[in-house]
Symmetry: D3
Subunit: 136 residues, 6 copies
């Protein structure tokens, strides 16, 4: 019998979608204005879900303050007000699409959260586009 | 290892819930004011989810602009500013409840999106009532 | 020293924008798909503001339950799940644009709320289009 | 082939997180300011999902007005404007964490809704923290 | 030529609406379930507006981080996870209606923000009820 | 007797807050992480208000499709998916704070909208920070 608790967070960042081995024209043909070499940016809204049983002693699945702090350490401190392509090593060889950002966040949290818990990541790139990844 | 990407869209439409083989009184008894023969209407808010693997070459599950255009062609162009009962052939013999509208949308998209992808449809009829259908 | 308190409400309705003295073609040329003779509809979201001084005895500007009931009587009971053009007499000779609906609502409330209070009406026709009217 | 329909509701309540067998200091050490002996409170926002097949005769999974009334009877009437610790018997021996509140709501609804339907409960304790429980 | 910048914040608190010189019955007759002697509570959502000219040297009306910190010191630190009636001295003799809470917040901020700026306070008690006060 | 109609729009952009005559250290001391020389970015959400009388012939204050197109031409086409510092000439010598962006948008629209109308611009830089400018 398990529940999932969710915590919201956010970060603002610049990025550019492109492949290094393509020319600007090729990148524009595929990624459109998202490939702007001068970058654009987003307010990323994040929801992290943690699935597990209720601890009978506390009534918690996980301490939400602990979860909030983990998200701050693993995501906000690394991504907020950053240029994802230039300043976040995870995207050195990885295109910072919302899909890849969600996977990077999931992997970072997976290393910090006990394996008994399931993890899901919901990431809004804009109010109209978002992605969910749960490691399956 | 798969993710789901989501795209929002919307359309405004009039409709009436009723059965042709029932009298207005019988329809009112069951469907209440939703059976008003003069119609009422909604701002339908739609979220379409597409589930698949990340393309290693692009970092995309699916091109979101392609998805946006498909939704426009299959849903917005057919439903927006329309009377669903009178003007949308899918509802000629089908009561345009939010459940049936969601299934019609899912079926329309299923014909256009590669079978390797899963599809889910979330449809808000009002900010307080919505439905999810994923074809299972 | 005055404050404004706000109460939200909502109603779903069908309508059509058109002039009776214009042909369907002329109406379409000006009002576009909003002039569809078969109607379309919206979830109207309403916020009513009432401006006045705090009653020192209660700490209220106005009893919010009273305001809620007034909005129900004057707006929801008349407009919800209705065809505005056909079933709401206020729009017999008045095009039910969001501007005119807001004015009709303001006038209906003005007759019921003590003159010592100011009134404002904010009406969302869609999540992207809205109007404010405060009687000035 | 099943769909899930969702209905939103809300209630405002006071609560305190603590264990009776711990001192105020021990409770503060674990539950932080949520253990304030004078209580604090929340606007709880609730979404109840009901999963089932579409009734071919009506186009409904379940009558949403029936669902709305059930939620009112089982949740709003018991919880709204109450002190959960003192006034809601379900929490006499149960810490009113969002996880436990969600389970209590799920169990109350499970007794009232036909077993052929699945039920899910999503409960926002704040706009930033929420929980989902579906009985599995 | 002036602009208004806005910063959002929030706090969760318990409260009770009542007059000490009235009986519980009299309070219930006027304030309804909001007078529950065991308290209930809300997620208060706050928006503080500061009106002034743009500083040509910085492009700011006011440093938003400074404003964020002021709101934390004057509002969140005093009100969050508190029982407003018992633990916040401002409400010792003042009924903690949303109107009075908004005035208390405005007065607290007025003492800390330079007189050259105008101040407005928007306070949501629930997603459906809110108040605006700007000191006029 | 006038009303204000509002239209929402949005654009995503990268920017950096800084003064060219300050060192990176001086800029960081004042603008904090917003001065990151590699840029960061936002989803800017925009609401444009147009104040005027209702045209008795149409029931409109202004044609909302015309307003939508104007916003697209003057704001979205110039700002969306751009680096504001590098690619938008208005910010060549002007720090792209939300205050200055709002003024630039207001001035661009003022040149295109008949002087009989009032104009207001509300710009969200994040869901928690926004600015309003109405030219007064």
């Amino acid at each position: 019998m398990s529940l999932t608790v969710y915590r919201k967070a956010h970060f603002n960042a610049a990025h550019r979608l492109y492949r290094k081995d393509w020319s600007d024209e090729e990148n524009y043909a595929f990624f459109g204005k998202c490939s702007n070499p001068n970058y654009h940016g987003h307010n990323y809204e994040l929801e992290v879900g943690v699935t597990g049983e209720i601890d009978k002693n506390t009534g918690f699945v996980i301490d939400m303050n602990l979860l909030r702090d983990l998200i701050k350490e693993e995501v906000e401190d690394s991504f907020d007000h950053k240029n994802l392509n230039i300043e976040v090593p995870d995207f050195k060889e990885l295109n910072p699409t919302m899909e890849n950002i969600a996977m990077v966040i999931w992997n970072r949290l997976r290393r910090r959260i006990d394996e008994k818990y399931g993890i899901s990541v919901k990431l809004y790139e804009t109010p109209r586009n978002y992605v969910i990844y749960d490691g399956k």
